[in-house]
Symmetry: C2
Subunit: 411 residues, 2 copies
């Protein structure tokens, strides 16, 4: 039969990243494309113990649970956040199926078709997809390596009258950039003045490469809650990067009236997320030194980033530049202006290496000579080979007919 | 700050059932209200073993997985469904966070505000909520104990031009009714003729009280796929009732082009459901005799239903009638016409028993003298006391001023 899909369905894009992942799976391709943590670093035994404990108790772990999520885990997350300068209680929070669901539910309860939303450029691809599925009118705020430019932010707040500002201010996906404290304060202050909600998406913030006290600025949520006036920052986090993605457990915190409406939306969406995974995480937080584990994976990811960065620097490709990220999972590479990374990709895959072309992370005016490189999933011993293959691809691409075509930087 | 919610948010209702559950939690109240399976029947040891096996293998169980869900589990579910007369393969299916998410995602990709949807009366409360959140125009098809009346169905198909028909044809929630084979065939035939998609929601179909071969009619999905012409039935099921709800694993099957669009919607909604729960279920299906377990819980639920039914019959409340369900989890009680079950509820809770007033299961013209009684969660030894308390509540209510007010059957 002919299926007559909804307008929303016609605005659902598929993720280029996931399509690339599908192509590279099971083949001898080194993928710097995905946003995957290194699975050899997963705390397997601690996770096994946690599930054993979660299932050892009574049968209630297997019964229907609260839509808001398992209360002891919410309390543990609230305590961790409070320790990070974000004073919250369990009732300010709902647990979600990864922070992706937090983003989706917030958009559902906030956005009507045509509502304006401000984002960074580049920004998280799946956020663009979710915003697109709700038919938001997406506008970019100009940024530099310190964050959104306050003058342009104010202009966009005034002209676009957005309902929401979405940002990943710490170890941005894809750019790796971290906003300065000053820009954070300015952003919170401006959004509060214009009565615009900020969604701060912080999946990577705990993966830090600098151990010094005060090395990093506070989160927008911490700035928001330490200041005067009503809160304007909704904050989402996840265990996907600091424990493991398979547990699919994230959280969102915000004003109680907003959390209540998200709870209703989640009740309709799936009643609640896996109660067993939530109990296992609660046991893990009780019995495992997660903070030490985060230091361990951060050190390892730092060393992989340095390896990648060193290999890239030693190649000295003409016109290429990048900044070393201070944490997180991604390095953002800008190639010479005439190189179209999307067209380079098939050459790279043929040489046995994959990346994500930067253009997919822009809602408008894409910079086509950029790419996102993930350094957390590839084992250190393969990093040199990966960059070697990228080098070969650049050479072959450079001799091709495609490379000589003019590149449209914005269409 | 003042939060300016979306139109969808303003159409999110909260579940009366869940609010009642909250009130009754932790108190000395026997609840016949929830739709909970009996937790003392959960196969705890098998579930523990399954998680152990799922986590014993490699680290990939903890990594990001496919949006469609764990392939071996999809293959196992496809094999079970094929054995039940619904010939499908893993690629016709996507795994969801319970069948609730299947319902939500299908509505998302099918319904624009104002689109018509046909339902039974009474029907599943959370379906009404999801349909409401997408601002569907909900219309009722008249039914008797054998299913939708074909003449009225055709009239509604012609007049309302619906996009979707939603039904729970087997051991309906809340009515307990099971459609006859003839009505099933007529419904599929009519919907196919009018090019209308059917969502068959079948969470209870395997909980059967009659062991005889051929005791039950085939599912709409089986009829649909055995006939000629293009498929018009989308089918959703879940492990929540036959294993345990906490694992939050359901599935939806349908035409490949529809499953592809649902997959995109799910990718935006939460990337994928818990990979660990899916692997554990796959191990459980390999190592545990689920069919024998289903026979065990079905026998036990049958015996509880008989207990409840016997107690109700022996009370002989004036004007009260009910049909014994042939499976599932619910018994639908119709009281004397002048009794308003919603007003009776506070009296019942004071006496220490809870139920769901029937009116919440109607999208229009509620029958206010009805209630839904769950018989799977209450231990057998409490069933007599539960009905005794309901009897007391009816007596006290009968002497109250409220009981003498005229009852509006439809407003």
């Amino acid at each position: 039969m002919k299926i007559n899909f909804s307008t929303a369905a016609q605005h659902l894009g598929s993720s280029a990243v996931r399509e690339i992942l599908k192509v590279t799976q099971g083949k001898n391709i080194i993928s710097l494309a995905g946003g995957l943590p290194g699975e050899e670093l997963f705390p397997m035994q601690a996770v096994r113990d946690a599930y054993n404990k979660a299932l050892a108790a009574d049968t209630s772990a297997l019964q229907y649970g609260l839509t808001e999520g398992y209360l002891p885990l919410r309390e543990q997350i609230a305590a961790r956040l409070t320790g990070q300068g974000i004073a919250v209680s369990a009732s300010d929070m709902i647990l979600t199926t990864g922070s992706q669901q937090a983003l989706d539910l917030l958009c559902k309860i906030m956005l009507d078709p045509g509502d304006s939303v401000l984002v960074e450029a580049p920004t998280y691809l799946a956020a663009l997809q979710v915003l697109g599925s709700y038919r938001a009118d997406i506008h970019t705020v100009k940024s530099d390596e310190h964050g959104m430019l306050p003058d342009h932010l104010e202009e966009q707040l005034r002209i676009q009258r957005p309902k929401l500002l979405y940002a990943v201010p710490t170890f941005n996906n894809p750019s790796g950039a971290t906003w300065s404290r000053e820009r954070r304060e300015q952003t919170v202050e401006l959004c509060r003045r214009y009565n615009v909600l900020i969604l701060e998406d912080n999946p990577y913030g705990e993966i830090t490469f600098d151990d010094a006290q005060g090395a990093y600025p506070p989160t927008l949520a911490a700035i928001d809650r330490s200041g005067e006036g009503e809160s304007c920052v909704v904050y989402t986090g996840t265990f996907s990067k600091i424990v493991a993605p398979g547990l699919r457990t994230g959280w969102i915190i915000g004003p109680p009236e907003l959390i209540q409406v998200i709870t209703k939306a989640k009740q309709a969406a799936d009643l609640h997320s896996s109660a067993i995974d939530q109990r296992a995480l609660s046991e893990l937080l009780h019995n495992f030194d997660l903070e030490e584990h985060i230091r361990l994976i951060s050190r390892e990811y730092h060393s992989r980033m340095k390896l990648l960065s060193g290999e890239l620097a030693s190649r000295g490709w003409e016109g290429t530049h990048f900044l070393e990220p201070r944490g997180g999972m991604f390095l953002w590479l800008t190639l010479a202006e005439h190189i179209n990374a999307a067209k380079l990709l098939p050459y790279a895959v043929r040489q046995g290496v994959a990346f994500v072309p930067g253009e997919v992370f822009y809602s408008e005016q894409p910079h086509r000579n950029t790419m996102r490189l993930n350094f957390t999933h590839t084992p250190p011993e393969l990093m040199q080979i990966a960059v070697q293959r990228l080098d070969e691809a650049l050479n072959i691409y450079g001799q091709s007919a495609e490379a000589s075509q003019p590149i449209a930087q914005a269409d």
